[in-house]
């Protein structure tokens, strides 16, 4: 309503010019009074009396002026500023109190802001393409890749997608531009760029004609590669580049996307890939679908659509596609992966820390308000409504909270940097967690909320002050209510601190248990790296076998080397190449999904020696197992138990589907934890088999050579042997490139990365909680002691010893602590169930952990009580009996 607006406008103008308004009104009243006086004089009164009567008839001038001021200005704003000034003065007069409060709040708010920055970066991140919620990532069966013919079927048969693309990545050597460099090449459908909103900086992206076999070879490169290798010259378009020995025409330059999304420097049309097995329906080659949903279609509808196509494919191709299902996740969900739950748990944990900080500050306020009671009583007596008093107190606490928030923000900036430095690689980047508006708003809102939270109870309590009682001299009884409130707060703090300590304890024990798991091989002193053979060798089976044979010989001859082996297919903690297989002496399974599925390792004879995997039975691969000899395979313990229970597997034959050959079992090895130490033992996950790498069929050799590693055991530190290994690789063929060096220990540590990270953060929070809770107990007991000096004096005068007083104080502290611990255990037990997914080897209700946390907390609490208790014993009865 416009009426309301004009009133506001007039009030604002009045407020700005209040002094003049007030003076004018005083004049107006003065002139009114004059006229009234005149009237009275005309009626016959004497001047003096006329004036007096006029004043009565007009009304109290001060009151009228006050009313006028309130009407014309912004009284709320006035009172707010008044309160603010008062609050600032109050804090300045009590710097110690203010400092402690602000620091306590800063710790709580700062920690929360730091975690929020992380959550903002990981879970709420801004994706750099339009309508990111319409972009979905499509896999087969929860994580498996999609074979190319199946993708073509999806393109033809689904109706929910505006754009659909398939992509996979591969490694190739770029040789035509300076030093040979290994590139991550992304093979993709033409729509890939459109889905992610990538527009070429120069030139163009692929057309659909170029996306088929036999089309002219073209590539698109990234901006950074363009600047690095081609000098950013516009003439690059139309030029050639040689990748893996083949020439491609560069047709476009695209901007760099942040590494965590789709890190590639070279893009190539996936439809052109000439690898023959690519067009078989059975193999996915790591290809992943990416699509943009049509406007108006929901994710659920798209999923239903995909699975309808899946059912129809399952019916058409019963051999490969039985039980086919697709999964579609939004891009955001698929890049967050499993990080959501632990991060949210951490956010909850740090929230508990803030609650403890609030309880501490509330206690401090309660203690202080005891001292301010007279002042407040006087204010109420002078006419301030209780509402005003509450507002004023809330202003004070809000000021404290905002100051705490400001300091907390500074702490958070520093803390966030520390968190990024300690985080597992790839999870966080420094830019992602930078201070931005959202984080600032979060901090401000949290500070205000905190202020209200810890301020409301003390304010309400203070406003309920009994004026009569307080203004009488020596009113002491009213402190009982405050003490009770303080005790309640402290007990809650202890309970929360116990919960956090228990949580941290559980995670620590889990990590410890994980480290104790036997990986099945000796992880120390193993160096692994990838060799990228020259194009000529890479495409030729026999040449590859010969090259690797020479390489292994050279590597084993190096000083400091114990043994070396080729590792095609997989290496523990990396890769997931699997093969379906079945027994030759039983009927072939009807459907592929019924056949057991094992991780395969194509190796040279020394592999067992490199890895120190135990050989349980029979023999391992030998040099005699060459490409011309009989095909052999070595299975692991898990396969023996699952597929050959109570039988002798050695001598039997199995058929390996991917390799399309049958092999005789010659030995049984132990089982390794390929997927990480904390994977639960599951027979199906642990099927592993080894074949001689020389027996890989020629037609697969070139393909598999791309994902092959070499593993070496060194006598000393594996890092020391790396340069010599590189030399050896070059010596065998100068066009080869060695890259991707890592040690098995690093891989193992890396697989533990997130677990360690969560543990570290939770431990820091538990530590903060412990610190704050013990400060809280110290404060309350200290206060108690101050209040009870009189009582102690009496006791000691009546014969109590110093140690009796000490025991009394400690007992009071212990009682608070024990109640808090009991509550903490009662509340913590169900709460720890939330952690159950993160635990390993311990139950959420582990008694040892809870007991340990309780003991630690109580010990620290008692220590905190000791200081005031000691002070109590120093009491001189003569002094205190006079003290009031």
């Amino acid at each position: 309503m416009s009426g309301w607006v004009s009133v506001m406008v007039s009030r604002i103008r009045g407020w700005l010019g209040m002094k003049r308004v007030d003076e004018e009104f005083a004049d107006e009243l003065g002139s009114h009074l004059e006229m009234l006086t005149e009237e009275n004089v005309r009626r016959g009164m004497a001047r003096e009396e006329a004036r007096r009567a006029a004043k009565i008839r007009l009304g109290g001038a001060e009151q009228l002026r006050e009313t006028n001021r309130e009407q014309r200005g912004l009284p709320l704003v006035e009172t707010f500023f008044q309160d603010l000034r008062f609050a600032v003065r109050g804090l300045r007069n009590n710097p110690g109190f203010a400092l402690v409060c602000i620091l306590t709040l800063a710790l709580g708010i700062g920690a929360n802001t730091a975690i929020f920055s992380v959550i903002n970066a990981v879970l709420l991140q801004q994706l750099p393409f339009p309508e990111p919620d319409r972009v979905v990532v499509i896999h087969r069966h929860e994580g498996s890749s999609i074979p190319y013919p199946e993708f073509l079927d999806l393109q033809a048969q689904t109706k929910s997608f505006e754009l659909l693309a398939l992509h996979r990545y591969d490694n190739m050597n770029l040789t035509s531009a300076g030093e040979p460099e290994r590139e991550i090449v992304r093979m993709c459908s033409p729509d890939f760029f459109a889905i992610l909103g990538i527009r070429p900086v120069l030139g163009r992206t692929f057309t659909s004609e170029e996306d088929r076999l036999g089309a002219a070879p073209v590539i698109v490169i990234s901006e950074s590669l363009w600047r690095r290798k081609f000098n950013g010259s516009p003439a690059t378009i139309g030029n050639n580049a040689t990748l893996a020995g083949q020439d491609y025409t560069i047709v476009g330059i695209v901007p760099d996307l942040p590494r965590q999304f789709v890190s590639s420097d070279v893009f190539f049309p996936i439809g052109q890939w000439a690898e023959p097995t690519f067009r078989l329906r059975g193999e996915g080659f790591g290809s992943v679908g990416l699509a943009r949903i049509k406007p108006g279609v929901t994710l659920e509808q798209a999923r239903v659509d995909l699975n309808q196509v899946a059912s129809s494919l399952a019916a058409t191709y019963p051999k490969e596609d039985t039980d086919l299902r697709f999964s579609a996740l939004t891009f955001r969900a698929s890049s967050i992966g499993g990080a959501q739950r632990p991060l949210l748990l951490l956010f909850g944990a740090v929230g508990l820390v803030l609650l403890i900080a609030c309880a501490n500050v509330a206690n401090l306020l309660l203690a202080r308000s005891t001292k301010r009671k007279r002042e407040l009583a006087i204010r109420v007596a002078m006419g301030a409504g209780r509402g005003r008093v509450i507002w004023q107190l809330l202003t004070e606490t809000s000021l404290l909270a905002l100051l705490g928030g400001a300091v907390g923000l500074v702490l958070a900036i520093w803390g966030t940097r520390a968190i990024v430095a300690a985080s597992p690689s790839g999870l966080l980047s420094a830019q992602g967690v930078e201070l931005n508006l959202r984080i600032l708003l979060f901090t401000a809102a949290l500070s205000l909320l905190t202020g209200i939270l810890f301020g409301i109870i003390p304010a309400l309590k203070a406003a309920r002050v009994d004026v009569q009682e307080t203004l009488k001299e020596g009113g002491r009884g009213a402190t009982a209510g405050h003490q009770r409130a303080q005790s309640v707060l402290v007990v809650s703090e202890v309970a929360l601190a116990l919960t956090l300590l228990a949580g941290a304890g559980l995670l620590i024990r889990s990590l410890d248990r994980v480290w104790q798991v036997n990986p099945g091989f000796d992880t120390r002193n193993i160096l692994s790296f990838v060799v990228a053979p020259s194009a000529e060798t890479a495409s030729n089976g026999p040449k590859l076998r010969e090259m690797y044979g020479r390489l292994i010989e050279r590597l084993e001859a190096l000083p400091g080397a114990d043994s070396a082996s080729v590792a095609f297919g997989n290496l523990p903690f990396t890769g997931e190449s699997d093969v379906e297989f079945w027994r030759e002496d039983r009927p072939k399974p009807e459907k592929m999904t019924d056949a057991p599925d094992a991780l395969w390792f194509a190796v040279t004879p020394d592999y067992l020696r490199v890895m120190r995997i135990p050989l349980l039975h029979g023999r391992f691969v030998t040099p005699a197992d060459s490409e011309t000899g009989q095909k052999v395979v070595v299975i692991n313990d898990a396969i023996a138990r699952k597929v050959f229970p109570n039988e002798e597997p050695v001598g039997k034959h199995i058929y390996l589907n991917f390799f399309e050959q049958s092999a005789e079992i010659v030995g049984v090895t132990g089982t390794i934890k390929d997927f990480g130490l904390d994977t639960p033992p599951d027979q199906d996950n642990e099927l592993q088999l080894y074949i001689p790498f020389r027996q890989i069929p020629d037609r697969l050799m070139a393909l598999l050579a791309k994902n092959s590693r070499v593993a070496m055991r060194s006598v000393a530190q594996p890092g020391s042997i790396a340069p010599a290994a590189r030399e050896a690789v070059r010596a065998v063929d100068s066009r080869q490139v060695m890259f991707g060096e890592t040690t098995m220990q690093e891989l193992l540590d890396g697989s533990m990365g997130f677990r360690r990270f969560s543990l570290m953060l939770l431990t820091v929070f538990a530590g903060l909680a412990l610190l704050l809770a013990s400060i809280g107990i110290y404060g309350v007991i200290s206060n108690l002691v101050s209040q009870s000096m009189h009582e102690f004096g009496v006791r000691m005068a009546l014969g109590a010893q110093r140690r009796d007083v000490l025991r009394l104080v400690l007992f009071r502290g212990a009682r608070l602590d024990l109640i808090g611990v009991a509550l903490g255990v009662a509340g913590g037990l169900p709460l720890m169930q939330l952690l159950s997914k993160q635990l390993f080897g311990v139950t959420p209700a582990d008694p040892l952990t809870f007991a340990g946390a309780a003991v630690l907390l109580s010990a620290v609490a008692l220590l905190a009580c000791f200081i005031p208790a000691h002070r109590a014993t120093r009491v001189d009865p003569l002094v205190t009996l006079r003290y009031e």
């Binding site: 009426g3 004009s6 009133v7 007039s10 009030r11 004018e24 009104f25 004049d27 107006e28 009243l29 002139s31 009114h32 004059e34 006229m35 009234l36 005149e38 008839r57 007009l58 009304g59 109290g60 001038a61 009151q63 009228l64 009313t67 006028n68 009407q71 014309r72």
Partner: protein
């Protein structure tokens, strides 16, 4: 009834001020108060000062405007006059009152019958 009464009183007073200014032309605070006292035959025994709250309200809504001028005795005084929107408001309120009093009148007469 106490609370409601002061609100009704507020509204009524505002209305009377508007009517006064409409009928009498520009007046100062004293003049308005005197006039209202006369018309209500002193039934509304309030302090004259309370009129100023009413004047501020009316001014903030833009229904009256104020300007300093000279009174009969050549004394400095602030004169208030009704504005165009004030006249509209007055007319609307008057109509509203007529309607209400008509309805109540009919109700009361019906009771007896």
């Amino acid at each position: 009834m106490g609370e409601g009464r002061s609100e009704i009183l507020q509204g009524t007073l505002d209305l009377m001020v508007l009517k006064t200014l409409d009928a009498m032309g520009p007046l100062h605070g004293y003049g308005i108060a005197r006039r209202i006292e006369q018309i209500s035959e002193d039934a509304l025994a309030i302090n004259q000062g309370t009129i100023y709250a009413s004047l501020v309200r009316l001014m903030q809504r833009g229904w009256i405007s104020g300007a300093w001028g000279a009174s009969e005795n050549n004394r400095k005084a602030k004169f208030y006059s009704i504005t165009k929107s004030g006249k509209k408001r007055l007319a609307a309120e008057a109509e509203s009152w007529e309607r209400i009093s008509g309805v109540i009148g009919r109700v009361l007469r019906a009771e007896r019958g």
